[in-house]
Symmetry: C2
Subunit: 405 residues, 2 copies
Amino acid sequence: MKISRRATSIQESPIRKLAPLAAAARGRGVTIYHLNIGQPDVPTPPEFLRAVGSFPGKVLEYGPSDGLPELREAMVGYFERFGIALDPHEVLITNGGSEAILFAFNVVADEGEEIIIPEPFYTNYNGYAEMANLRVVPVRTRAEDGFHLPADEALDAAVTPRTRAILVCSPNNPTGTVLAWDELERLAAFAARHDIFLIADEVYKEFTYDGRRHRSVLELPGVRERVIVVDSISKRFSACGARVGAVICRNPEVMSSVLKFGQARLCPPTLEQLGAVAAYRLGESYFEAVRAEYQRRRDVMYDALTADPGIVLKRPRGAFYMIVKMAGVEDSDDFARWLLEDFSLAGDTVMVAPAGGFYATPGAGRDEVRMAYVLEVGKLERAMEVFLAGLERYRASRPAVAQVG
Amino acid sequence: MKISRRATSIQESPIRKLAPLAAAARGRGVTIYHLNIGQPDVPTPPEFLRAVGSFPGKVLEYGPSDGLPELREAMVGYFERFGIALDPHEVLITNGGSEAILFAFNVVADEGEEIIIPEPFYTNYNGYAEMANLRVVPVRTRAEDGFHLPADEALDAAVTPRTRAILVCSPNNPTGTVLAWDELERLAAFAARHDIFLIADEVYKEFTYDGRRHRSVLELPGVRERVIVVDSISKRFSACGARVGAVICRNPEVMSSVLKFGQARLCPPTLEQLGAVAAYRLGESYFEAVRAEYQRRRDVMYDALTADPGIVLKRPRGAFYMIVKMAGVEDSDDFARWLLEDFSLAGDTVMVAPAGGFYATPGAGRDEVRMAYVLEVGKLERAMEVFLAGLERYRASRPAVAQVG
């Protein structure tokens, strides 16, 4: 009797390892600014919570396996605003974006087959790949390029006879990078050239700044049957605890396969779908306010960090994360630990996510951390002050490392 | 670019194939008594719905990956009533019982390994097995034995070097059979003898009749580390649409592995967990009323069916299903179709689930249907009248078949 290989090899969340150290710091009376988590602090729309609480029925029955029809229609209406025409049958509601990824992986690939993912990438993709018994093949992107796609040659070099799809996330967690339209076109050509699927995680769709609107892979011509979008209301409506996501695809064979997996798990949560319907009926002004707030925060963080000449950082255009590359840091696990254990500035410190966990390539990202800007501006300003002071002191305490950096 | 093998081979719900025929019958003005579905008609406790609607926060944040602490503690309290001592760390909340099964499969076995399941069994186990790339090895149980476990020799014969677990469901869907304590002891010995896990789906725990209380595999001595329980509030509190289940296990290695899969999907739905906390605080009287009602219905169905000498049926002791074996029916798919398409009694007919879909062995169960007693007594009495008249007429219309049967 033993635990499966996949259970033992699945990676533990790199951030969670730091949690006990954070608790100890709090125990010493230190205030911690959390730059490590992607939990938005924007209020969940009251309309969402009201709708959840106003369930009219007496029996909370199983809902449809593909989700409530009114939610699928509300999502069709939402995409129409972007000029994206969908049929409700091209939308299937899932238990969060997580299940959408799991279903997409299961439908496009069998055990032992491969999915290409530009790295750094959202750590949890590894967990879904383990559950689906797929191999993640990373393609490296770099801080110096603002984590945009590498040249076609680098993408092509990652393809093997077992490749079934490429998965991109835009706006990106953890980099904040928004893929440009010409990058999406290159991805479409790449998918067509190798006859594979193009899966796009677009859960941060509404979080784009500087007046640029998000372009979806659903807008790409010529690859309608190849494109699968993974979506979620978690960030869109600050409803992470709701677990309402979606698979969106115009390939009927993909959708009927996804539905079979959906039937096996019966249905997504009904009450929180009712909340999502109400949230999707909110007007554009809801997003404008949220976007303006995050753009302000992005600017505070970006401006503060780029004042340090040892930091490599291109202005991220979306989501609410940045990957920050730092001269003088050779092991960001150690740095993140040190910030919690050995440093404070007038009783304050910061918690950051070491970036190694976002890479599949061993040793990559060890001079980087991920920061999320989900604190209000005043706190974020103080957090930046504390972080930069910490970085300076860390470098000074490790002179040999600083020279290498 | 093609759909995966697993997506194409996953079975479609056998009941869903009949749905268009039912719609057509309704279109002709026929009243259909639904014996085909397991959706309880008992009201969801108002306490559940009130708690869901009274979320006190402003931001519906990610919850803990292992579930809300108050729900895990409420479940510990619930199991205490049965004399089962658990620690909250031995309970992990999932997106319904479905995800609990998927996690259990992923933790105990790798791709290509085997899980033994007595058949007939809950069809959706097949879907989870496909997702986890496991092979289901059926062990036959029979109507004549009340679908109790076969002899040890039959169980032992199903074991191969790739066997990792046996999964039982008690009280059982689709048979209604409740495993006796000595059967649980035999399962414990079997698991120990072959050094495999014992997974028990106990979601119908509260649905046992004739004054007998449910015994859980958690009560078995000597196999604490081998036993994994899959649980859910769907049937317990008539909250199928809530998607709140649990994995319960005292093996710390299993639980830390389950937690890693749990972290990959972030968290179960928060609001419906709040509802579950309130439901778990309901007293024993809630269950007594529900149990009394279902026992009455079980008796109505059992007494009516066993009046037909061509029906093989032992009195089921739990859940709200029976597998009904009928002389004179050679192909229950055809029979179920015929009931919807070609039969009615004064404008009424019944919809039943052909049992073939509940068997992994090809051709098994073709003279059986599954019936659920989730209709109130008056309707159930009429449904039985209609069904028995239909069965009689079907047999008469197929004389050759009747002779074979």
